[in-house]
Structure formats: structure tokens, C-alpha cells
């Protein structure tokens, strides 16, 4: 008899959510994590003694249903208030979005924002059932699949002809077209457009999925506003781990999986367990991978167990990350020109062209001259992440290519790090003098340290051809894979990346069906 009902590879938040649901249903669950603590990209990182931040520094749309189901509050998750989103301006004329209201823009923009937000939230609601369900498999017309389609159809009909037409028009619009249509203020445009672009190989002028990505993020309870949970993102990870363990799941850290064991005989293939990097084997009735699809199939399974067409679709997934991470340990609170407190999610992108130019460099394997970024100072909301009176600044720096022309080396990394700090200094002039320690992680560093292909946050590009029933690719888009007993449960699956727990939830639901 196998030692476990389910082995989950990777204790990222999706792995933990999936583990918690399966354990609650009575399964014997083992979560194997290569790092020495759970969390994946949400795990705590002490980048300088006493200074902590995870890679993913805020939470945008973690599912309330999951929080309730898994009793996360009882397991220590504190109530987190949404933080404002701030579009920084060197002049101090910032744009501030908080609890659905806009300040800092002109009268016309403020009026336009009301209509924009009404429409976007409406559209986000249309798509909501998509994110929460297993996607229908094309050609399989069973009742629940048809019901999912019907649900979307009904939602679309309900918003009325005019809005429906508008929805179809804007769904694949470039961010720039959408923003130019509504607003004049450059900072407002970049701030609103940011959530369509973050983590993707897309810029304001790219058509494809930016608007869909925005709608995905607006569908959450906080309507697009980010939160920093009590205890930071790690507070959420802690609560998830505790919930999973309370239900009987075992979480084993420092246990890197080397291979997924595939059993083959005249009946075909089945996943029967894993072999750890240290040579130990653990058997289970099923293996659920929270690793990214390329890592799962190409490295952990091996192509010899996969069909050739399928393998090549996995191979062709776009997994190059474009987000680098800057961590600054500061000896005092950073002071941004014209901002009382740096307690929000701050975006540095003077106009849409600045984003586009930064992207242009990265397309050709170069680093941007003037990086654009999103900054959070987690220590303001959660002082425990830094020593008394000290602060942590965490920045997602966009359009730093995974594949740098000529390859990554310390000099190249230092250069883009300094450029990033220079850029921040234009908004917070005293920042350089406050730095106690700095750390810059390129996508290549993230890949190596966090075992995620391309250092890609979302495991693979969140783009129309890799979404919904094509995520990561057909035949693996319903959390099941072509190999019986092998499942996927993380960002490389529908609905996609960000700390939502949705993929882990949907996978568990599918496994228990």
C-alpha cells in the first residue's frame, strides 16, 4: 500500500491550499518542500539580519471562500486592511486610489474614473465564475462543463447589450488604448494600467491579455486593492500551513523532489510517488505538483513518459520572467516627496511611454535605462519585519529580462540595481543615505533560488493563449495531466498567478470529485 494518498510537490500557497482541502477530506497528505520553510515565493526571506520580506510582498485577491473553508482566521490570519495604491510623482502630485475613490487627479479624470470603475467592476463580475471553476474541456459536453459556460453566458446577458458589446471590445484591448480613452493624467494611466502588466511580458501597447489580467485582479473581494496581511505575506503562509497540519497534512521541508516516479506496464502509466534528491522514495496514490509546468513535466517527469505534441506545447510555454526584486534594509522610514506615509503600494512609472520604453529594452535582452516598479514598505504596516525603528523596502522591478544579452553576472546585476535605486531616489531623495543593505534578485536568481522556471511569478505567462482551458495547455488544463495519478495545482494552471489560492482550491476540488 502506498504511504500516502497524495504527495504535493512544493509548499507554496497553492500547494498548501490544496493540501489543506485534501487533508480535510480525510486524505493522508504529504507536502514536500525543497526550501527549509514553506511558502515558495511567499516565504519569509531574511535578506539582512533582522530584515524580512517575501518575494511576493502583498496580496491582491486571495479568495475569501478559501479563507473561510480553511478557517484561516482561527489559524492565526489577522484581518488585513487594503492599502492604498499610490501613483508616485516626482513633484509630489501623487495619484491615490483608496477604497474605490480617487484623489490627486483633475475633475474630468475623477468623473471618468467613476464610469471606468463601474464598467470594469461589472466586467470583472462577469468573469468571476471563470476563475473559481475548473475549465470545461473542449469537446466534453458534460453537465457541469456546460453549466460553467452557461453561467458566463447568463452573466454576459445580464449586463445588457451595451455593456456586453463594450466588454467584447475592451477584453483584449492594449492597456494604452483603454487608458487614453478615459483619462488625461499620465500617472493615473500608469497606476490603473499597472495591474494589467505586472508579471507579464506585455507593455501598454501590447494587445492580448492585459485587460483580462486587470479584470482577474478586480474580481477579488478587495476589488483590486492589495492587502498586507498581519505578519506580512508570511502570516498567510503560516495560517495555511497550520490549517493544513491541523487537518492532518504533513509538511516536510528541506525535502527536494528529484523525480516523479512513473510506473509503466501494459495498462499504461501511473504516477506512484516521488524520489527525493537525497535518494529516498515516497509512494502515494497520486502526485500533485505545485511546481511550474515546465519543471513538472520536463524535469520531474521526463519527456519519455509524455506524448511528443504535448511535450512540445509544454516546451513552448512562455516562462521567461520579467520581474526582478529589490530589497532594501533602511535605517529609518523612507520619505517620499509629498507623501505623508509610505504605507501604500507605490507605483513608479511617470507615463505609459516610460513603461513601453522599459519593455522595449527587455524584449531584446537588455535592462531598462529607467526601470518602472511597484514599491511596498511592509515594515510600516507590520513593524515586526525589521528591527525597531528600521524599515524594509521591497520593489517589484519590471522588465528585467530573465535572459540578459551576454548572460547575468554580478556586474550586470549591480548596474540594474543601482539604476533602480537611482530611480527611487528621484522620488525619495534621501533613500541612498538610509540604506543599510541592498539585495537585488534577477529573474535568473529567482529561478535558481526558488526553483521556478524563468523566475516567472505566474509560472508561465498569463496570456490569452495560455489561459482558461489552455492553461498551461490543453490536456493538462483541468488539473489532471495525461499521466493518471499526476495532477497540477499551482499558478501554471487556471486561473493563474498571484496569491489567490484558487488553483490549489480548484485542483483539490477536481481530485475529490
Amino acid at each position: 500500500m502506498a504511504s500516502y494518498d497524495s504527495i504535493i510537490i512544493g509548499a507554496g500557497h497553492n500547494g498548501l491550499v490544496c493540501a489543506a482541502y485534501l487533508a480535510r477530506s480525510g486524505q493522508r497528505v504529504l507536502v514536500l518542500e525543497a526550501a527549509d520553510e514553506p511558502g515558495g515565493l511567499g516565504a519569509d526571506r531574511e535578506f539582512h539580519p533582522g530584515f524580512h520580506t517575501p518575494i511576493a510582498h502583498s496580496v491582491s485577491h486571495f479568495s475569501q471562500k478559501i479563507a473561510n473553508d480553511l478557517k484561516l482566521t482561527a489559524h492565526g490570519l489577522g484581518a488585513a486592511k487594503p492599502v492604498p495604491t499610490v501613483g508616485l510623482n516626482t513633484t509630489g502630485a501623487h495619484i491615490i486610489l483608496q477604497e474605490g475613490s480617487l484623489s490627486g487627479a483633475g475633475t474630468d479624470d475623477t468623473r471618468a474614473y467613476r464610469e471606468y470603475s463601474r464598467l470594469m467592476l461589472r466586467f470583472a463580475d462577469v468573469l468571476k465564475p471563470f476563475w473559481q471553476k475548473t475549465m470545461p474541456r473542449i469537446g466534453m459536453n458534460n453537465f457541469s462543463d456546460l453549466a460553467t459556460f452557461a453561467h458566463i453566458g447568463i452573466n454576459l446577458r445580464r449586463i445588457g447589450k451595451k455593456d456586453m458589446q463594450e466588454f467584447l471590445r475592451v477584453a483584449s484591448l492594449p492597456v494604452r488604448d483603454l487608458m487614453d480613452e478615459y483619462f488625461d493624467n499620465d500617472i493615473l494611466k500608469t497606476t490603473l494600467g499597472w495591474d494589467g502588466l505586472i508579471g507579464a511580458k506585455l507593455a501598454p501597447r501590447s494587445p492580448n491579455s492585459a485587460v483580462l489580467a486587470m479584470l482577474y485582479r478586480l474580481a477579488g473581494e478587495s476589488r483590486g486593492a492589495h492587502t498586507i496581511p498581519v505578519g506580512g505575506v508570511n502570516g498567510l503562509i503560516d495560517a495555511l500551513s497550520k490549517s493544513a497540519m491541523a487537518s492532518g497534512a504533513e509538511i516536510r521541508c528541506s525535502a527536494e523532489v528529484g523525480h516523479i516516479l512513473i510506473d509503466g506496464n501494459a495498462d499504461g502509466l501511473t504516477a506512484k510517488g516521488v524520489r527525493l534528491a537525497n535518494g529516498d522514495t515516497v509512494t502515494a496514490d497520486r502526485v500533485i505538483s505545485a511546481a511550474d509546468p515546465q519543471r513538472t513535466f520536463l524535469d520531474l517527469v521526463g519527456v519519455e513518459y509524455l506524448d511528443i505534441g504535448f511535450t512540445n506545447r509544454i516546451r513552448r510555454l512562455r516562462c521567461d520572467g520579467y520581474v526582478a526584486k529589490l530589497h532594501l534594509a533602511l535605517d529609518s522610514a523612507p520619505e517620499f516627496e509629498g507623501l505623508q506615509q509610505a504605507n501604500g503600494r507605490m507605483i513608479i512609472a511617470p507615463d505609459l511611454d516610460a513603461i513601453e520604453f522599459a519593455f522595449d529594452h527587455s524584449k531584446y535582452g537588455e535592462c531598462p535605462d529607467s526601470p518602472v516598479m511597484e514599491i511596498v514598505v511592509p515594515s510600516i504596516n507590520e513593524p515586526s519585519v525589521a528591527p525597531d525603528g528600521k524599515h524594509v523596502l521591497s520593489a517589484h522591478v519590471m522588465y528585467v529580462p530573465y535572459q540578459l544579452k551576454g548572460g547575468w553576472n554580478p556586474t550586470a546585476r549591480d548596474r540594474v540595481c543601482e539604476r533602480t535605486i537611482d530611480t527611487i531616489a528621484r522620488y525619495a531623495p534621501g533613500i541612498r543615505e538610509q540604506i543599510v543593505h541592498q539585495e537585488f534578485l534577477t529573474p535568473a536568481d529567482l529561478e535558481r533560488q526558488y526553483r521556478v522556471t524563468g523566475g516567472h511569478w505566474h509560472h508561465t505567462e498569463f496570456a490569452m493563449d495560455q489561459m482558461l482551458m489552455m492553461r498551461p495547455t490543453y490536456e493538462a488544463a483541468q488539473y489532471r495531466t495525461p499521466i493518471p495519478g499526476l495532477f497540477l495545482c499551482a499558478a501554471g494552471c487556471h486561473p493563474g498567478g498571484d496569491i489567490t489560492g484558487q488553483a490549489g482550491h480548484n485542483a483539490a476540488h477536481e481530485i475529490l470529485r
Partner: protein, 398 residues
């Protein structure tokens, strides 16, 4: 580039045997195959056909695609690509194989030569580089090299073929069993001989470096002088292979990667090649789809037909009744077989109707007037032409 010829890059390549074939191609009947200048026939199709059936003939297979697959993972890679169990191919043995898409639709057929535990040669009718590259992706140690232009290959088919090779001095060639490979020293090089072919009769395929290709031709033709050796082209090949009931790309099957319309390609089961699909193998590309196909049964089945009368049923529809009210299939290849003395055809017929009556509606022309007739077809289980000598070892001397 040749500056005096603006079309140099577009011109057909000449096979290493071209210089001899050019002389013999009395009718200048050239066609093209994979970019090579290639004989449709040399003098007369029927004449060449009768040589293959009664004495022997040579058929230039230089244009056939040849790939060398080498490395520690070569066997695993091929075993996952083709439906047959490659681990069962012995050293210096050849196996006929097919490979399919994930959906179990046939991409191509070909032969795999096992030359060493880590070295194979794959031959097939159409270029397969892209699929091989995809198939090799992800394996640590396997290289795929297109050696089409590096190997000159000549097929020698017919009842006197073994005698010719013996006369040429290939001692022991008569001990080669069907699908065996033997090697012989030849002009400082190595001549590889496989007992394989596309005629359904006794025959061999000769593989040699292009540098000594003409020497091989000359020695073969010297040895074959009193054994009726003649070159034959594509047209005669098509006759012999139809008698042997071998399938031909773009006649019996459409390569799946080149097919646009849904299921206008075929599965191995539809082509009667289920025997090549080894479900004892835990995995190969297309296995899941083919297993379902096997359970469900193929939509069509390639069927050997003996047709009344003597008018070839080319392009005919097959009907369930003489009144032609219910169409159930179509003829893929048809001819009057001079050796079998029968009007033969291969046809794709809807599997569910195989057991009932089969009628072919044949259109034919007589002195510029069109006629048609509806005639009864009888299913044949065995190839139309399968002489015992094709399988006998040693083969009988002629």
C-alpha cells in the same frame, strides 16, 4: 552559388547513381522526389514491372530520407516515437514502423535499422526533421542527423536478386533472413545490405557511400548481366507495391502533419497496421488515443479487393449495393495485376460495412467515350502477391 545559373538552388539534385541512370533513361521520363531528379520510368513501365517480377531490377532510393539517430538515449527516444517496441529489434535487424501524432493519426511509416545498441538509422518517404527534433527534445544524449545526402541507396528487387549479389561476390548473402542487415567490404568502404524492399518479392537494399556509388552500380550491372537486371522507376514500383498490398503516402494515407481537414488522415488501425501497435509498451506517443481507437474500432479499414472484370477501379466509390444507393468507401489504388491475373485494388471501407456486399462503380474510357459499370468486389485477406521465395532463407536460386 552558381552565378551563371540563376535557378541553381531550385534545380533538382542528382542522385549519386545519376550518371548511369541518365544513359538508361531512354524516354527522359524524370519526376521529382524530395528534391531529387528521379525516374518515373526508364523505357516502359510494364517492361520494368516484368523485370522485377521475373528477373530483377534496381530502384534508386537515394531520395528516401535517412536519419542517423545516435546516443545513449537513441533507443528510448525512438521507442517513445514509434508504436512498435524498438527494444525488440535485434542488432543488425530492420523493423517496419509507423509513428503518430498524440491523437494517434499516422505521421509516416518507415524502417528502423539497428546498427549498434546506441545507433539507429530511420528511413522514411518524406522529410521528418521537425518531428524528429521534437521527438528528441528533452533527452540528454541523442543526436539526430539527416544523412540522406551522405548515403547512396539502391534497391535490388526480384527473383534473381540474391543470385546477382552472390555473383558479385557478397559471400553469405544467401544466409540473410528477411530484415537482416549484413556488411561487406567494398572498394575500401563498407557496403551495407539489408534484406528489405517495397516489391513484396525477394529483394535487397544496398547502402553505400556516394563516393563509390558508381562502382557499386557497375559491379552490380556486370554481375547481373545474365540475370536480367534493369533499372525501374516509380511507376513500376507503384505496381509491385500494390500487388504486395503495401501502403503509399498520399494514396492510402495522408501524412497527419500535412492534413488540413479533420480526420482526413488515418490511424494505423484504419490502415490494417494494428500489428505494429504494441500496447505492451507502457508508453509511446499516441498510445492513449490509439487504445481508445482500438476499443472503439477504426472508422475505416483498408481492404484488399479482387474486383470483377478487367477495368481498373481507379478513383471508384465503393457501395453497399449494386444500385449504388449507399456509399461506404473509396478506392485508394487500383490496377490490373499481370502477375496475379486479377483486377485488384486497395480501398478504405467503413468498418461497419466490411462484412456485407461490396460494389465498385467503375468509370472507364474506350476510344474517347465514357462508360461505367458496377461490379462486385471480393475481400482478400492476404497480399495479392507473396511468393514463398520472398521469405525463404536461403532463397532459391533462379
Amino acid at each position: 552559388m552558381n552565378e551563371t545559373d540563376p535557378y541553381a538552388g531550385e534545380r533538382l539534385k542528382k542522385s549519386p547513381f545519376y550518371l548511369r541512370q541518365e544513359v538508361l533513361n531512354i524516354r527522359n521520363a524524370w519526376a521529382a522526389w524530395n528534391g531529387y531528379k528521379f525516374a518515373e520510368y526508364y523505357y516502359d513501365t510494364e517492361y520494368e514491372y516484368f523485370c522485377v517480377r521475373n528477373t530483377c531490377g534496381t530502384y534508386d532510393i537515394c531520395p528516401m530520407q535517412k536519419y542517423e539517430i545516435q546516443g545513449r538515449d537513441a533507443e528510448v527516444m525512438l521507442n517513445r516515437m514509434v508504436t512498435r517496441d524498438v527494444t525488440k529489434i535485434g542488432l543488425n535487424r530492420v523493423a517496419y514502423c509507423v509513428w503518430c501524432t498524440d491523437d494517434g493519426r499516422m505521421i509516416d511509416d518507415g524502417t528502423i535499422f539497428k546498427l549498434a545498441s546506441d545507433k539507429f538509422m530511420l528511413t522514411c518517404g518524406s522529410p521528418c526533421t521537425a518531428w524528429l527534433e521534437k521527438s528528441a527534445f528533452g533527452f540528454a544524449d541523442v543526436t539526430v542527423t539527416d544523412v540522406t545526402d551522405e548515403i547512396a541507396a539502391l534497391s535490388l528487387q526480384g527473383p534473381t536478386s540474391c543470385a546477382v549479389l552472390k555473383k558479385m561476390g557478397l559471400d553469405g548473402i544467401d544466409t540473410a533472413k528477411p530484415f537482416d542487415i549484413m556488411h561487406f567490404p567494398f572498394h575500401g568502404d563498407t557496403l551495407m545490405v539489408s534484406r528489405t524492399g517495397f516489391s513484396g518479392d525477394l529483394g535487397y537494399e544496398l547502402w553505400i557511400s556516394p563516393t563509390v556509388a558508381l562502382d557499386l552500380w557497375d559491379q552490380l550491372y556486370d554481375a547481373g548481366e545474365n540475370f536480367g537486371i534493369q533499372p525501374y522507376g516509380e511507376a513500376a514500383t507503384n505496381m509491385t507495391r500494390l500487388e504486395a498490398a503495401f501502403i503509399m503516402p498520399f494514396m492510402e494515407f495522408n501524412e497527419a502533419l500535412r492534413t488540413v481537414n479533420f480526420e482526413h488522415d488515418q490511424t494505423p488501425f484504419e490502415l490494417n497496421l494494428g500489428w505494429l501497435v504494441d500496447f505492451d509498451k507502457p508508453h509511446f506517443s499516441g498510445r492513449r488515443a490509439l487504445l481508445e481507437e482500438q476499443k472503439r474500432g477504426p472508422k475505416y479499414t483498408l481492404t484488399k479487393l479482387d474486383i470483377e472484370g478487367n477495368k481498373p477501379a481507379e478513383g471508384s466509390y465503393i457501395y453497399k449495393d449494386k444500385r449504388c444507393t449507399r456509399e461506404i468507401g473509396y478506392v485508394t489504388s487500383a490496377m490490373w495485376s499481370p502477375s496475379v491475373k486479377a483486377n485488384i485494388a486497395l480501398a478504405m471501407i467503413k468498418t461497419e460495412h466490411l462484412e456485407g456486399e461490396l460494389w465498385a462503380e467503375i468509370y472507364y474510357e474506350k476510344e474517347l467515350r465514357q462508360y461505367n459499370r458496377v461490379v462486385r468486389c471480393t475481400r482478400k485477406q492476404k497480399p495479392f502477391w507473396a511468393p514463398a521465395r520472398a521469405r525463404a532463407t536461403p532463397p532459391p536460386d533462379f
